[in-house]
């Protein structure tokens, strides 16, 4: 069991590029944390810094309060599962799984017992004498996990372990990993660029960009209260709609005026928070699921949208449309599977302004307002 603490950790490469920049994060013992971000954002680098596979340029890394910044990987008692699985190709599944224990001079009988136990847990018992080349992608992935589990490490570091699997297997393994975490109770850091994995698996999400941590929080908190437009757009698919508007105050009400199209009034409970920004430009952040085809709630406000395409997914339809006339902005709406509309026609959708966010168009930062997630 291990808590992992990154204290202003940075990684600077010889070419002047930062792999990780001032990463400050405490991961509690037994926590399942997701590092989420686009390719090249520094999430895998940060994982390798924790594992000791790359050296830390500045800052301190502590495991269970002990400074391990300069401790070699073999003495950190962390297990890493790589995206490529990194199975030793010349060894059988049994030898792969037992390698870490052999390195730690565990008695042979004990190694065999642990391999059998872990293989049983992961359904690998029949494959122990096969070599990696004779395994399917899913089996290799389980062997890689088994190799990590059998060592009973203090924490697991998973570097996009599901990204090479097909969609169905990925969904199954997602669930398996969550169950495994519950069963083992060990700290897990899971690196991914998949929003679904991030939302469904972790206790906390840590969103990274250009080597920095942008936001850390519980999945629903981050979803409901994104720190900036990057998080707002990255965490869901289709991403949050960001519509330029003028925030105006008149007659005691506050409203976002979208050029030549519509006006969306700010709900009373957010007025105080947004009032200081009145008179300026903002980006209105509306999730696709907060745009509706009918006005089921009188508080929902009309928003004319010109239809560009309707994507039928079976369970729902995604409307892709444009808002505004002079400089049309593309928006998406998650509508019922019964919704149909001709391309080029203008339809009225109804925006639920309750979960709506306003962002500063210059910095991209969210204008602070009371959290919806906190109330929930």
């Amino acid at each position: 069991m291990a808590s992992i603490e990154l204290d202003h950790v940075s990684k600077l490469y010889a070419n002047g590029a930062y792999g990780a920049r001032d990463v400050d994060l405490k991961i509690e013992d037994g926590e399942f944390v997701i590092f989420l971000g686009p390719s090249g954002c520094g999430k895998s680098t940060t994982l390798r810094l924790i594992a000791g596979l790359e050296s830390i340029t500045s800052g301190e890394l502590r495991i269970d309060g002990v400074d391990v910044t300069n401790v070699p990987p073999r003495d950190r008692n962390l297990a890493v599962v790589f995206q490529s699985y990194a199975l030793y190709p010349h060894m059988t599944v049994r030898e792969n799984m037992g390698f870490g224990l052999k390195m730690r001079r565990t008695p042979r009988a004990e190694i065999e017992a642990k391999i059998q136990e872990t293989a049983g847990l992961l359904g690998l018992s029949a494959l122990l004498d096969r070599k990696p080349a004779a395994l399917s992608g899913g089996q290799r992935q389980r062997v890689a996990l088994g190799r990590a589990i059998v060592r009973e490490p203090a924490a697991f570091l998973l570097d996009e372990p599901l990204s090479n699997l097909d969609a169905q297997l990925r969904a199954e393994m997602r669930l398996e990993l969550v169950k495994l975490h519950r069963r083992l109770g060990r700290t897990i850091i899971h690196v991914t660029h998949d929003q679904v994995e991030a939302m469904t698996m972790g206790d906390r999400i840590c969103i990274m960009r250009e080597g920095r941590i942008i936001q850390v929080g519980k999945p629903l908190e981050v979803y409901a209260d994104p720190a900036d437009t990057f998080v707002a757009r990255f965490l869901a698919s289709p991403p949050m709609n960001l519509i330029p508007a003028d925030l105006t105050a008149a007659d005691g009400t506050l409203a976002c005026r979208i050029a030549g199209t519509a006006s969306i009034a700010i709900p009373d409970r957010h007025r105080a928070a947004y009032e200081p920004a009145a008179g300026g430009k903002v980006l209105v952040g509306l999730r696709p699921e907060d745009l509706h085809e009918t006005q089921a709630d009188p508080a929902w406000q009309p928003l004319p949208v010109t239809v560009v395409a309707v994507e039928t997914l079976g369970v729902e339809n995604i409307l892709v449309g444009q808002v505004g006339e002079e400089k049309p902005i593309q928006v998406s709406a998650r509508l019922s599977r019964h919704f149909t509309a001709e391309v080029g026609r203008t339809v009225t959708l109804y925006a639920d302004a309750g979960p709506m966010h306003l962002f500063d168009p210059e910095s991209g930062k969210a204008i602070p307002r009371p959290s919806l997630a906190a109330r929930a």
């Binding site: 990987p73 073999r74 890493v80 995206q83 030793y88 730690r104």
Partner: protein
Amino acid sequence: MRRLGLHIGLILVSLAILLPPLWVLRTSFVPESLAYSTKLLPEVTLQNYVDLFTQKRFGTFYFDSLVVATGSVVLALPFAAMTGYAFARFKTGGRFARFTVLATQMLPPVAIVLPAFMLFRTVGMTNSLAGLTIAYAALNLPFLIWIMMGFFEGIPVDLEWAAMSDGATAWGAFWRIVIPVSLPGLAAAGVLGFILSWNEFLFALVLTGPGTATVPVGLASLQTSNGVQIAKVAAGVILAILPLVVASRFIQRFIVQGLTFGGVK
């Protein structure tokens, strides 16, 4: 019609390549007196082969070549593997070191054979198989380093990282993971090094004496003041290329086998 033309072309090219070695094979089984005959097989004899071993000490040349070629590979390969790994993984010495190693291959052997002779004579290693083995190991080392470097660069670093987080040291990861995974590469480099040493003539001629001559030097000695004993030369050539035929089969198998055979996705 076009296919027929293609086939005729291919047959002609194949004949151009195959006929000379086939004629050498034929000559090796023909008595010396009939060697220049234009008949396909005027008479068949094994006498040329027998003479090579009984009169010309070809068995000794063969043994010397085997010892020197194998010895030089065994000596050079560990250094090549370790240096190649350092270049590939740790970028030791940067591009400068890599190309300095390669630059040593640019010198024609004739430019260094005399300095090498002086050096070996100073340490008393001329006319010895050990001296020639060391010379060949040194000559082949840069080439083998580059082959191994290319192989190691193709091995995903994840494998070593996995080993290191599993508890291995950097050396342990190299020895227990990288070397076994690189066996096809090591074998290919070894066979190529063997072939280079087996074929080498100039250093063998300068550094060896009558008791330590290798096959190429032995073949050259068949050219006497009375002319070339062409049938014996042909038999010697056939014997000389036999190990290369075997080696090329090996190298093909190892190279085709590929590198990491399913360890990484």
